[in-house]
């Protein structure tokens, strides 16, 4: 998806977490990380699958099932406060254990991301348009009575 969308306003965090009973997850994560060379992506390893357990109730997954093989999208204003934030949109590869309408569809998730990027760009353009006259006003020195030329001396006859 990153290759499909070259927008610099897109960031990706890939979190590898151990779920399948195969062991050697960290070395596998290092190998897998090499397959995502995009500069906008950061790679993490969550050795206790902590994030997976935190996201399970947020995504309303069945009890005991950590969130994994899930793809979460966040709109620009979303911030991570005390708890991980709920995604603006998400998809999964969890089969029947998660909503079928959210089963991973690369085109669909790319469409959602593109729409969010377009909206963000539009908002940013609007803000710039609103700010421009304000900024110009700030640069112009205020004209007050003190700055008006003072007539000195007597008028010529």
């Amino acid at each position: 998806m990153l290759a499909q969308i070259p927008d610099p306003n897109l960031r990706a965090y890939v979190v590898w977490l151990p779920v399948l009973p195969s062991g050697a997850w960290e070395s596998a994560a290092r190998r897998a990380g090499g397959r995502i060379p995009d500069a906008r992506a950061t790679r993490y390893f969550d050795r206790d699958a902590h994030l997976g357990h935190l996201y399970a109730p947020i995504l309303h997954l069945p009890e005991g099932l950590p969130a994994w093989d899930v793809y979460l999208v966040f709109a620009p204003p979303v911030r991570w406060e005390d708890k991980p934030p709920a995604p603006t949109y998400w998809m999964h590869q969890l089969g029947r254990r998660a909503p079928p309408e959210l089963r991973l569809d690369g085109d669909q998730i790319a469409r959602v991301v593109s729409e969010l990027l377009t909206t963000a760009a539009r908002e940013s353009h609007k803000t710039a348009q609103i700010r421009a006259p304000l900024d110009a006003a700030c640069l112009t020195p205020p004209i007050g009575p003190l700055m008006l030329p003072v007539a000195t001396g007597s008028r010529p006859a």
Partner: protein
């Protein structure tokens, strides 16, 4: 005792010392490499992989620093 007598003796004494220094250097390098691989951001295929702490840092900080951008969070098993 002349300098001729002292020379070969010193040479023989220095050789083991050189070996010890070389061994210590190799051990230090190995220790540094081991420390490096235990570090959070050890490279894998040239790309860094950061091990998350229990409070999920530095992911949380990076996520908030990137506010204003569209962000994707992928949770996946590496195997």
């Amino acid at each position: 005792m002349t300098s001729k007598e002292i020379g070969p003796l010193n040479h023989r004494a220095i050789e083991p010392l050189k070996e010890a220094v070389a061994r210590a250097a190799i051990l230090t390098l190995a220790a540094l490499l081991l420390l490096g691989s235990a570090n959070c951001s050890a490279p894998g295929h040239g790309l860094p992989l950061t091990v998350l702490s229990n409070d999920l840092e530095p992911l949380r900080t990076e996520f908030n620093q990137d506010a204003g951008k569209v962000r994707l969070l992928l949770l996946v098993d590496p195997t």
